[in-house]
């Protein structure tokens, strides 16, 4: 093999400077082209499979519901109407849910990120006595937990049922995120820096708040984004811990409208069939619009967030 290629090297004309690139054998070049074409085709199909349903939702959300029923909407919206969106913006449940979600997201993210950063920094310090044992306490909870029922009972015993705390506290610290933050600190904060700061009389608090945090902006951004996305999208804690629907976050409101109504409304027949069918179609239209409205904020922020998430994946992989 190597003998053959070296012959090609010698025969390759016009390459006197720089690394010598052998001309691949014809068979391999053909094989590579097949590989490239296949890879590109598979990826293009995957992109299509991801994008088309989302694109369809968007065009369906502004299309005449009758056209959707008749199967006329494929590539372009048909009979443009904004009725779905108008209904959403007139729906107080949505606005209320959105307000709650914003509140839960801001508070939950603030609690989670500050707890994780402080805890992870302490755990990253090799000179903290008992570090290994304390870390173990956290890691154990990744592999075994008390389960849904006892978590519910604990939250109930704490008197947190139906309060904002039940939504923001029970899932506040993910051990996985703690590990990511810890390894970030371990890899980016040199020991010499801390020793120098201590020589100058900086306490651990001072060093952490004045030096470590300003040096950890990428990590802080990543943690904020992880938690904003998670809080924005979560519904289950609200489902089990809240029973007052004025406190429901957007996702729970969406669930009740998008999913629950689909099952229950099929049983309720009021008025004549004609108007019922029309109402049904408007309801469908509203669903499309609702999917668009609720996913749009994160989708718009995505290109901005991507850089940080990719970095985060790398920190996680380094672990």
């Amino acid at each position: 093999m190597s003998l053959k290629t070296s012959t090609i090297n010698i025969d390759t004309p016009g390459r006197t400077v720089g690394p010598v690139r052998p001309r691949p054998k014809l068979r391999d070049r053909y094989g590579d082209r097949v590989f490239n074409i296949t890879a590109t085709a598979i990826l293009l199909l995957s992109i299509l499979a991801v994008v088309y349903p989302l694109y369809f939702i968007v065009i369906a959300s502004v299309s005449d519901p009758n056209a959707i029923y008749e199967g006329k909407v494929w590539l372009f919206p048909s009979g443009v109407t904004l009725e779905g969106y108008q209904r959403i913006f007139a729906d107080s449940r949505i606005w209320n849910g959105l307000g709650n979600t914003l509140l839960y997201t801001v508070l939950g993210t603030a609690i989670s990120v500050s707890t994780i950063l402080c805890g992870a920094y302490a755990l990253s310090r090799k000179d903290m006595p008992g570090r290994k044992f304390l870390m173990l306490l956290f890691v154990i909870t990744m592999f075994f937990d008390g389960g849904l029922i006892t978590k519910y009972l604990v939250v109930r015993d704490l008197g947190m049922l139906n309060t904002i705390w039940a939504v923001v506290l029970p899932g506040a610290v993910g051990v996985w995120n703690l590990i990511i933050a810890r390894s970030f600190f371990e890899h980016t904060i040199p020991n010499e820096l801390r020793e120098a700061a201590q020589m100058d009389g900086a306490t651990d608090f001072k060093f952490f708040f004045k030096m470590v945090l300003p040096l950890s902006k990428p990590l802080i951004m990543l943690m904020i984004m992880i938690h904003v996305v998670a809080q924005w999208n979560s519904f289950f804690d609200a489902l089990i811990f809240l029973n007052d629907d004025t406190k429901y976050p957007l996702q729970l409101v969406l669930r009740n409208i998008l999913i629950q109504s689909d099952v229950s409304s099929s049983g309720t027949t009021g008025g004549d069939i004609q108007s019922y069918a029309a109402a049904q179609r408007i309801a469908e239209l509203t669903k499309y619009a609702m999917i668009v409205v609720s996913s749009l904020p994160l989708m718009i922020a995505l290109p901005f967030m991507q850089k940080h998430f990719t970095k985060g994946a790398m920190i996680g992989a380094v672990k």
């Binding site: 290629t5 691949p24 054998k25 391999d28 590989f35 490239n36 890879a39 990826l43 995957s46 992109i47 499979a49 991801v50 349903p53 369809f56 959707i68 500050s114 707890t115 805890g119 920094y121 302490a122 903290m128 006595p129 008992g130 304390l134 306490l137 909870t141 592999f143 075994f144 008390g146 849904l148 029922i149 006892t150 978590k151 009972l153 604990v154 704490l158 506290l169 610290v173 051990v175 703690l178 020793e195 020589m199 100058d200 009389g201 651990d204 608090f205 996305v229 999208n233 519904f235 289950f236 089990i240 969406l254 998008l258 689909d262 469908e284 669903k287 996913s295 290109p303 990719t310 994946a313």
Partner: protein, 324 residues
């Protein structure tokens, strides 16, 4: 070291203490010196004690008849009654079977796809197309489970859904996907791939970026084709990451997807969509059978832990065998 001494009165470098003689008083001194670190750790520690270890302590109600007035500790013991009741109940086979079905199916289908995607994306020539593919494929990860299931309901709707419109266009009969038990598993797994494959791909891409390009250059010189390089350089290069992620996937095998399964449930597909955790939710929180459902939850956790330990041992053995 000189933290407690003001900077002006700093002493000349003190001789390091001999390492051998770590007395208990020195140890105490070290602990006291680190008090601010413990303060930083305290919120996180309180969190896991209250929301992780307290529930773990409460798991004892699986062996008791939980009485809200008496709490975790003082409720009367009943031994394995709840476990026996669960194993003998008519749902046992169905619920455990459904859980294993979607877990194994998910692992077989959803685990390899991100790896394949990453290997393909990594080989793309154009940086821009690479980036574009990455962004598009992982965007669904940012859509909430509620909305993904909502999309299923509208896109798969028997009357107006996209898929059924296509089926009818091709001359077929519309299918009530969300209302049929046999479609639950395929829809569950496909939607899982749709939503998460791109995001899982990122980790593998990061690992692929860490592979020494010299290996590829050397293989090129030796006339290796792209496919050969993917198989013999890229794949072995990310094998450690694959193993770790596989063990982690096993570790959460019986816990993932619970929310989606719950959201996808309709009275018509319940025979395939009721998994252990949704059953715990229904029996425990909706019917307030706390001890019984805690026992089922514990059954699930223990099963899960056993799987994790088993596969971890297998992986360790295999690694030792292939280390050279």
């Amino acid at each position: 070291m000189s933290r407690t001494i003001p900077a002006q009165r700093r002493l000349p470098a003190a001789a390091p203490l001999p390492q051998r003689r770590i007395s208990s008083s020195l140890r105490l001194k070290r602990i006291l010196r680190a008090w601010q670190l413990y303060v930083l750790l305290t919120p996180a520690l309180i969190y896991i004690i209250v929301f992780k270890y307290w529930p773990m302590y409460g798991v004892q109600i699986a062996f008791k008849n939980y009485n809200p007035a008496k709490g975790f500790m003082d409720s009367p013991w009943v031994g394995l009654t709840h476990f026996i009741r669960f194993v003998n109940s008519y749902q046992f086979g169905q619920v455990v079977g459904n859980t294993l079905w979607i877990a194994v199916l998910g692992l077989l289908v959803a685990f390899p796809i991100p790896i394949i995607l990453a290997l393909l994306v990594n080989q793309l020539q154009s940086e821009r197309f690479k980036k574009f593919t990455q962004t598009v494929l992982y965007s669904p990860a940012f859509i909430s489970t509620v909305v993904v299931v909502g999309i299923m309901f509208v896109v798969l709707s028997p009357r107006s859904g996209l898929v059924n419109n296509a089926i009818q266009l091709a001359g077929g009969e519309p299918i009530f996907f969300m209302g049929s038990a046999e479609w639950f598993r395929p829809i569950y797994v496909i939607s899982d791939v749709w939503q998460n494959a791109g995001f899982s791909m990122i980790v593998y891409l990061a690992a692929l970026a860490g592979i020494d390009p010299a290996l590829h250059d050397a293989a090129k010189v030796d006339g290796a084709s792209k496919l050969q390089r993917v198989r013999h350089i890229d794949l072995p290069g990310i094998m450690p990451v694959i193993t770790v992620l596989f063990i982690l996937a096993i570790g959460s095998l019986l816990n993932v997807g619970f929310e989606k399964a719950l959201l996808m449930q309709t009275p018509l597909n319940l025979s395939n969509s009721e998994i252990i955790q949704t059953y715990v939710y229904h029996a425990g929180l909706q019917q307030a059978q706390f001890s019984y459902s805690a026992a089922i939850g514990l059954f699930n956790s223990v099963l899960n832990l056993a799987l994790l330990l088993f596969f971890n041992t297998v992986a360790r053995r295999a690694n030792q065998a292939t280390l050279w």
